[in-house]
Symmetry: C2
Subunit: 246 residues, 2 copies
DNA sequence: CGCATACTTTGATCAGGATCAAAGCAAGAT
DNA sequence: ATCTTGCTTTGATCCTGATCAAAGTATGCG
C-alpha cells in the first residue's frame, strides 16, 4: 500500500487537497498565490506560537513534530495534542491561539495567511468540508485521549501512547502497523509525561517495566521495537478489536 | 433568563440557524421538511445511541441534558462530553457513533435525518461553516478538559466542573455568572466522577469539603449556590483572568 | 581530555485518591 | 407505616503514582 507514485493533486502531507491552494500539488499554477502561502521552518525546541497570541496564519505540518499544550500558573503542563505531518494548526475565524504550539523536532510548516485562506474557504466550499472532517477527527482523538487521561493506569497510558505513535508512524509510511515494527520515540520522557498526565519518573519506570516484560525492545533510549503488537494492545486496556480513530 | 420574546429566525437552542432547517424558527415554511426533521424525546436514564451503532441522524439538544461517554471492557467509564441545550450531536459523513450518548435528564432532541442533512450542507455552505465553528469550540473545550483530567487535583476538578456548569447555566439564560447565583447540579455524584476521572466517594468528599469551606452552599444535594465566584475560580487552579472558551 | 549540559534511570519515602465497607437519607411503592 | 430502591455520606485502610534525591549516560564544547 505504499503508493510511491506521487499524485500531484494530493501530496499526502497537506490537508488542504485542493489545487487552488497547495503548491506541492500543482506548483506551476500557483505563482500568484505566493503571498498567501509560504513554508516556514522551526528548530527543535522553538515555540511556534503561544496561547493568547494573535494568530495570523493557519498551517499544516509538512515534516517534524510539534506539540499543543497548556500550562497552569504554577507550571503544571498538559499536552493536548501531538501534531505530526499532515496535521492542521489553526482556527479559521479565530483571532487568538488557544494553546501553546512548540516544535519538538525540527519542523516545517506549510502556512497560509489567515485572511486570504478564509476568503478561499468562502469561495471553495470543499475546503470547509475537508476542514470539518479533520476537525471532527481531532475531536474524536481528543475524546479518546480523555479516557486515557481520566481512567487508565500509568502502564496503560504508556502503552496507549506507544500504540498511537506506532499507528501514526505506520500511517505516515502508508502501511499497517505490524509485529516487529520499529519507530523512533520523538518525545523526551518529560514530554511523554506531559502528554500522559504523569511525572517523568513514572514514565521512565513504566517504560523500563514494559521493556523488562518484553513488550517493547529498546535500542538506545528512543528507538522502539514492538515484537508483538497484540501484546502491546493488551497492555493498553483497550478493547482488542475496538475501532480506532487514530 | 427567560427571553420570552421569541425570535422566529433564531430560536436560541437550535445550532442550525438557517431558516431552511429549523422549523421552530420558521414553522410555516417547513411542512415539506417534516420528513427530514423531527423532534424526539427520551426519559432520564435512557440511552440515545451506543458507540458503534449506525447513526442515521444528527441532532441538537433542545431541552435536558445528555452525556457522551466511553466505557472500557472492565467497566471503567469516562465521560467525554456534557451535552446541554444547543449542543450538537452527530457526525456528518460518519456511519457510526463514536461514543455512547445517554439522557441524564428528560431530553428533547431536534433531529435531522442524516442523508438529507448532508445534502442540505452541500447546498448551503453556511451550515457547514457554522458546524465547523461549533466543532472547533468543542475541540477547544475537550482540550481544556484534558488539562483538568491530566493535571488537576480532585478539589480543583470539582471546582472546575462547578464553574463549567455555572457558566453554561448562565449562558443558557443569557446572562453572566455572578456572585450568589444558583443552579441545579444536573448530575449524580457518580456521573460527576465519570466526568472528572474520580470515584464517586472522592467527589462526595470534595463537595463536602468545598461546602465546609464556604465556597459553595448546598440546598439539598443538587441545588448549588455560589456566594463568591472569584473564590470558586481560585479553587479551580485556573488563571483568574484567563480567557475561557466555555 | 575534562567539563558542562541535558536527559534518563533508579531508589526511598510520602500522600492523594482508590477501595472496601457500612450507614444515612429521600422518594416512591406496597 | 414499612419496605425498597437509588443516591449520598462517612470511615478505615491500601496502593499507585508523586516527590525528593542522587547517580548514570550521552553529547557537545573549550
Amino acid at each position: 500500500m505504499n503508493d510511491t507514485s506521487f499524485n500531484p493533486r494530493d501530496c499526502g502531507t497537506c490537508p488542504i487537497r485542493h489545487r487552488a491552494v497547495c503548491s506541492r500539488c500543482e506548483p506551476d499554477e500557483l505563482e500568484h498565490l505566493d503571498d498567501i502561502k509560504y513554508y516556514r521552518t522551526y528548530e527543535a525546541g522553538q515555540p511556534v506560537i503561544w496561547a493568547g497570541d494573535p494568530m495570523e496564519f493557519v498551517a499544516s505540518v509538512v515534516t517534524g513534530i510539534a506539540t499543543l499544550s497548556q500550562t497552569m500558573e504554577d507550571g503544571r503542563t498538559q499536552m493536548v495534542g501531538l501534531l505530526l505531518p499532515s496535521d492542521f494548526i489553526g482556527r479559521p475565524g479565530r483571532e487568538q491561539a488557544p494553546f501553546d504550539v512548540v516544535a519538538v523536532t525540527d519542523l516545517t510548516l506549510c502556512c497560509f495567511r489567515k485572511k486570504p485562506f478564509e476568503d478561499l474557504m468562502g469561495s471553495t466550499p470543499s475546503i470547509g468540508g475537508r476542514l470539518l472532517q479533520m476537525t471532527l477527527d481531532e475531536l474524536d482523538s481528543a475524546r479518546e485521549w480523555m479516557l486515557v487521561l481520566g481512567r487508565k493506569t500509568a502502564r496503560e497510558k504508556i502503552a496507549s501512547l506507544l500504540m498511537i505513535i506506532a499507528r501514526r508512524d505506520a500511517a505516515l509510511h502508508k502501511r499497517l502497523p505490524k509485529d516487529g515494527m520499529e519507530f523512533d520515540l520523538p518525545l523526551t520522557r518529560e514530554a511523554m509525561a506531559d502528554y500522559l498526565g504523569l511525572t517523568l519518573e513514572t514514565v521512565s519506570r513504566q517504560i523500563s517495566a514494559l521493556k523488562k516484560a518484553g513488550v517493547i525492545i529498546l535500542q538506545g533510549k528512543r528507538q522502539v521495537q514492538i515484537p508483538d503488537l497484540q501484546r502491546l494492545v493488551s497492555e493498553t486496556g483497550d478493547d482488542v478489536d475496538g475501532g480506532h480513530i487514530f
